[in-house]
């Protein structure tokens, strides 16, 4: 399937909701699919020490990140009987309420699609060199750390 094509994961700025609709529509010709699982990361207006986050500015060690994304894909396709998988992550500024991560997995059966989607999300959080600068409303910032 589209397993072998090298895929571009990073997108500039927020991921528009329309991109999700387009991705879904693109899979309606694949009639061996019975289930899609989608995960979306959205920027929260967290309050930290009395200051409110207004955006996160993402940066990455891009070459390494793309190669780790590729390894995660390969591992996912060997672990799970999925038909396709798509990942998009923002670089640059993403405002609160906007989307920074879009993971989309498809399979004949729901459990496989769901497990694969979770696998991608956890692997991305743990292993991809992406960095996030939390920008507060007063234009100060702090560096985000995944828990």
């Amino acid at each position: 399937m589209d397993k072998k094509k090298p895929k571009k994961v990073f997108v500039d700025g927020a991921i528009p909701p329309e991109k999700i609709a387009t991705s879904i529509a693109n899979h309606q010709s694949k009639t061996n699919i019975g289930a899609h699982s989608i995960f979306l990361g959205q920027i929260r207006a967290d309050e930290i020490d009395g200051k409110t986050v207004s955006a996160i500015e993402y940066s990455a060690y891009e070459e390494m990140a793309e190669s780790i994304f590729h390894e995660i894909r390969e591992a996912a396709f060997s672990k799970f009987d999925i038909t396709c998988a798509h990942i998009y992550h923002s670089l640059g500024e993403v405002k609160t309420g906007e989307l920074c991560l879009f993971v989309f997995t498809s399979s004949a059966h729901r459990k496989i699609a769901i497990e694969a989607c979770n696998y991608f999300v956890e692997e991305i959080k743990a292993n991809v060199p992406i960095f996030g600068k939390e920008i507060f409303e007063d234009e100060t910032h702090q560096w985000k750390v995944n828990k």
């Binding site: 940066s59 060690y61 070459e63 390494m64 190669s67 992550h89 920074c100 991305i124 560096w143 985000k144």
Partner: protein, 78 residues
Amino acid sequence: MKVNVKYFGAIAESAGKSEEVLDLEKGSSVKDLKNQQIKKYQIQDADSIQIAVNQDLKNEVELKDGDEVAFLPPFAGG
């Protein structure tokens, strides 16, 4: 020998740069370079920093001429 050093996130901020070429003595280890730069730029939370050599986090080896050494703060993707 020369190595190409890259800094990201909070580390780039401390270093005031995102990239530099360093001239090291032959036989320098990853650990030597890490300690030297942390001291030089007064980088905080040294324990949380991972080093990738040629995009590989598994490295306890001697550096070679031309290596790309990246200083990575905690990941925050997703």
